[in-house]
Subunit: 376 residues, 2 copies
């Protein structure tokens, strides 16, 4: 007897700040037969997934894995493992995710300096340099590569040179950058880097790709107490993900989500990282040109724009929420709202992973033209 409703979602073109449209190969992978979390074939898949992540991240870090939570769990793991109460942490914040970093670190008892930058602008490299040079040493410096809340790109490579020279651990959030922008963890000198699956990797949300350097592992090993978070304690998780000898059970890994991530990384590597990045850039340029034709402007200056997250200024007199609802209802397209000080002032249009294609841009522009007609 079937008395419960069976869910059948519509096909929505996902052009918000994530989740993005999912590759067909990923949908297929999610429904493959579940294996045990210690099954030899699953262990092989974990190894293969870690290796694909190393390629995507641009790193040879041994400790590279997918954490069993969304991108925000990656942020949590980055602080709770590597920061102890009283440690001095500098966070450069130019949007929601930099502010979240500071909140996470403060909850753990770190002494947090938050260096704020205008929303919609990148973190300024020289301001970070001046702060680091004028202060006692920081234990960690955190910055967001691609700020999803605004669409601004920060030069994490230049900041990396300064942070490494200072001796601090360098933490980079590339939740939105990975798979859509060049990511080079080792070249950046980044010690701790996390991402999410539901942005440019085009897998549903649920895992946090994560990597950290030997310097970070040394800090973890020299902690005075246990990590105050059993679930995300990397010193134990590594014994499950590590390639050395027998795998020790920690928690039961999200098996089918890892199938999905493995397939998503397969799509990225098959097409080629450079080609996927070029596809993001081309879609972005097509979108910006089309929006300009519609009389719409961008929040972020051209040289600092993310290709995969486009903040579009809402014209005076237009009800931004009403336009979003019409796009969703009449055109089956999702775009995102502004957050914090940008609420009501911008739309956020995502061109992430599988979504970043000319035909999707054209469909959105047509829908925008239709929805805005009479408004602007």
């Amino acid at each position: 007897m079937t008395h419960t409703k069976r869910f059948q979602p519509s096909e929505i073109l996902l052009m918000g700040p994530g989740p993005s449209c999912v590759y067909p190969a990923v949908y297929r992978a999610l429904g493959l037969p579940t294996l045990g979390h210690l099954d030899p074939d699953f262990i092989d898949l974990m190894d293969d997934t870690a290796e694909r992540l190393r390629t995507a991240f641009g790193t040879r870090n041994r400790l590279t894995m997918a954490l069993s939570g969304t991108g925000s769990a990656g942020m949590e793991a980055s602080f709770v493992n590597f920061v102890e109460p009283g440690d001095r942490v500098l966070v450069a914040a130019n949007g929601v995710f930099g502010m979240r970093m500071a909140d996470v670190a403060e909850r753990l008892g770190a002494a947090v300096d938050r260096l704020d930058f205008e929303w919609g602008k990148p973190v300024d490299v020289e301001t970070v340099r001046a702060r680091i040079e004028s202060e006692p040493p920081y234990t960690m410096v955190g910055v967001v590569h691609a700020e999803t809340s605004t669409g601004a790109l920060t030069d994490v490579s230049a900041i990396g040179r300064i942070v490494r020279e200072s001796g601090a651990l360098y933490l980079v959030d590339t939740v939105t950058g990975l798979g859509g922008l060049p990511v080079a963890v080792d070249e950046w000198g980044a010690d701790i880097v996390y991402s999410g699956t539901q942005k440019c990797l085009s897998c549903p949300p649920g895992l946090a790709p994560f990597t950290c350097s030997d310097r970070a592992v040394a800090k973890l090993s020299s902690r005075t107490g246990k990590v105050p978070n059993w679930y995300l304690d990397l010193s134990m998780i590594v014994q499950y993900w590590s390639g050395d000898g027998a795998r020790a059970y920690h928690h039961t890994a999200p098996i089918n989500m890892i199938y999905g991530l493995n397939a998503a990384l397969g799509c990225l590597l098959d097409e080629g990282i450079e080609a996927v990045i070029a596809r993001h850039r081309n879609a972005h340029e097509r979108l910006v040109n089309g929006l300009e034709d519609l009389g719409l402007g961008m929040l972020v200056a051209p040289e600092h724009r993310l290709p995969m997250l486009n903040s579009v200024t809402v014209p005076d007199g237009v009800d931004e929420a009403d336009i979003r609802k019409r796009l969703r209802r009449e055109h089956h397209i999702e775009i995102g709202a502004g957050l914090g000080p940008l609420a009501g002032k911008v739309w956020r249009i995502g061109l992430m992973g599988h979504t970043a294609r000319a035909e999707n841009v054209d469909r959105l522009l047509d829908a925008f033209r239709d929805s805005l007609s009479g408004c602007v």
Copy 2:
């Protein structure tokens, strides 16, 4: 160009301690089109999922949801939200998961009393009563309903009466019980209860069904400081899962996993909770009888045995790991090893959810007979 390997797992009969075999409807649900985490249709699905969870848990708790991590994240959330440093916590431990509870609570600075019981036996109700009555008040008392590491069932209802009388919050782990044994959160007087998806619900791992009472919410609201875990801070997560008014973005929910959980709960409710529980019991009895015919004995006394997790004593002279490997390689069946003091001494045979069927029991018994021939 396809240069990355496409993964194609074998169909393995999952008879270990979880994950269990997944319902076909759940596999289908996992691959449905991804929606945005604030999409109105997805919000409706969250509400429906929460309501299905209330039915499964036997509760009217408003704060009922699926947390974005595996069952262990449910345990972490149970302590980090409701315990503050210095709080007195009593944990009754009769296996791995009770010990894990104590570890989690200690990492958060709680003053933990661990009351140990023999592995393979239930937590003794009168011993818990005596400890509670002889000690200053505890803030929280934690116990495991169905100990996955041993296969022993504890009378959490009887313990609940004692704990409620004492004024402590009552925490129950029913990761392995939910969907396979009667669960009655409100009748038990349990304040904080979590589970996992990959046991008797027969969904892949990745979410933690969770519920808590108004008394627990009051403790959360009266905290002196912020929850020292941003990712699992229920005071924020509730604003995303709650039915009241607009949903506030916290983190991006694991959309497709929630599709899977919703479908798994649909399978449970369609068949009927009572019928599914009876199916577990019948499969268990068939297994125990068949094992006895093979000359194999059970670790746990008959009156305390879990139907869904059967610890079978390894006969003298038999290499337990070798038998498990043969079952996996030659018969495509996974069973589990013993943990901690039971390593090498027991096999753990799961009969969880979709796995708990006579034909699976018979297939395992045949495979055991074949693999053990010449050994016993």
